[in-house]
Amino acid sequence: MNFNATLIGQLIAFTVFVVFCMKYVWPPLIAAIEERQKKIADGLAASERAEKDLELAQSSATDKLREAKEEASKIIELAKKRATQLVDEETQKGHSEREKIIAQGHAEIEAEKNRVKEELRKQVAALAIAGAQQILAREIDAQAQSDIVEKLVAEL
């Protein structure tokens, strides 16, 4: 144990080192550390917030999906109803159309039948006359016997 001037030298060196450290070494290092700590804290807070947002978005998305499904099923229901209604209507229409067409057909047939009857009647009358003419031509004058012919025609 021998104290000597080294003590003074070491004390000066120590002082200089501490002052240098205080002025040039410590401040930038601790500033960097603290800033990074702040950054990390901010990042953690942001991620937490994002997580919450995500949760919120997920629940709202589920809600929307459910709503959409309900809507869709409603629409489908409606469409089905409408379709059956349309089919019913068309069937009804078809039926009535058919009835109408059939009725028309019947009427036409009836008219034709009447016309043909009339025609036939006339022709039969003419034929009867012609027959009678030929019969009478042998015996009587056609003109004189025309009232009998008329009577015959009316009877047909």
């Binding site: 104290f3 000597n4 001037a5 070491q10 450290c21 401040p27 930038p28 290092l29 960097a32």
Partner: protein
């Protein structure tokens, strides 16, 4: 390795600092300084400690200048680890507001730690190199070349550190408590009565002085003893190899611990100085 006549000579040589002093004949070294009294400089102690201190501060300064707040480089991460460790300890023990305490603690911790770690350099390596340089460079007898590299085994270093801390203790005591408060603390405790003023003063002075004294002697004692054991182990032939290894492994624990204790006690003493009663 230079040959020594006795083990005692070997140990003495390894425990002697390289000395420098100025006499009428100019600057002289070692044995010529025996009568120089106080004005002797231990050039190995000063040289190594200043070299270590400058290396450490230069590294920290350079990293601090380039410090990024983003992803740090490996060096920056390591240095930030040390800085944060010191900062945490300061924050947990020192509740005042001071710009000095934390850098002081960092300087003490890293500087003392690095000075302590030179204890792990093989005891003969640097004295041998110094001896060779002295022998072939300056034509000296290698036994006259001294090189004790561990600065904390020199009581001047540890006392310089604790003296610096002691000055700060006094400074903060006066600054925070004022001259009156500090005087009261020295004279009115622990027995608050005018009759006991001399008694109190003796007790409190001893307490105050014991702090730097124990601080420096603890570090010096630990390091001096461990260095001595290293040197003793080095004298016993080939058996020294496992012993050296065991002792060195043990000191991986002891050396940082001593640096940590020095730093922690500095912080605690200064926070005590800053506390008002």
């Amino acid at each position: 390795m230079a040959s020594y006549e006795t083990t005692q000579e070997y140990i003495n040589h390894h425990l002697t600092n390289a000395r420098m002093c100025s006499t009428e004949e100019g600057i002289v070294f070692n044995k010529a300084c025996e009568d120089a009294g106080f004005w002797v400089w231990h050039v190995d102690t000063i040289g190594w400690s200043v070299f270590i201190g400058i290396s450490f501060l230069f590294l920290f300064w350079r990293v601090g200048k380039k410090a990024t707040t983003g992803v740090p480089s490996k060096t920056q991460a390591m240095i930030e680890l040390i800085v944060e460790f010191v900062d945490d300890n300061v924050k947990s023990s020192f509740h005042g507001n001071s710009k000095l305490i934390a850098p002081l603690a960092l300087t003490i911790f890293v500087w003392v730690l690095l000075m302590n770690l030179t204890d792990l350099v093989p005891v003969d390596l640097l004295p041998w190199i110094a001896g060779l340089i002295g022998q072939y460079g300056f034509g000296m007898d290698p036994k006259d070349v001294y090189m004790k590299i561990v600065p904390t085994t020199d009581i001047n270093t540890t006392f310089a550190l604790s003296l610096g801390v002691f000055i700060l203790i006094i400074y903060y005591s006066l600054k925070i408590k004022g001259v009156v408060g500090f005087t009261k603390e020295l004279t009115m405790q622990p027995l608050n009565h005018p009759v006991f003023i001399p008694f109190n003063f003796i007790i409190e002075s001893v307490t105050l002085l014991a702090r730097p004294l124990s601080l420096s002697l603890r570090l010096f004692g630990n390091l001096y003893a461990s260095e001595l054991i290293f040197i003793l182990i080095a004298t016993i032939g080939y058996l020294q190899l496992p012993l050296h290894f065991a002792w060195a492994v043990f000191h991986i624990l002891v050396l940082p611990l001593q640096a940590f204790i020095f730093m922690m006690l500095t912080i605690v003493y200064l926070s005590l100085a800053c506390e008002e009663h």
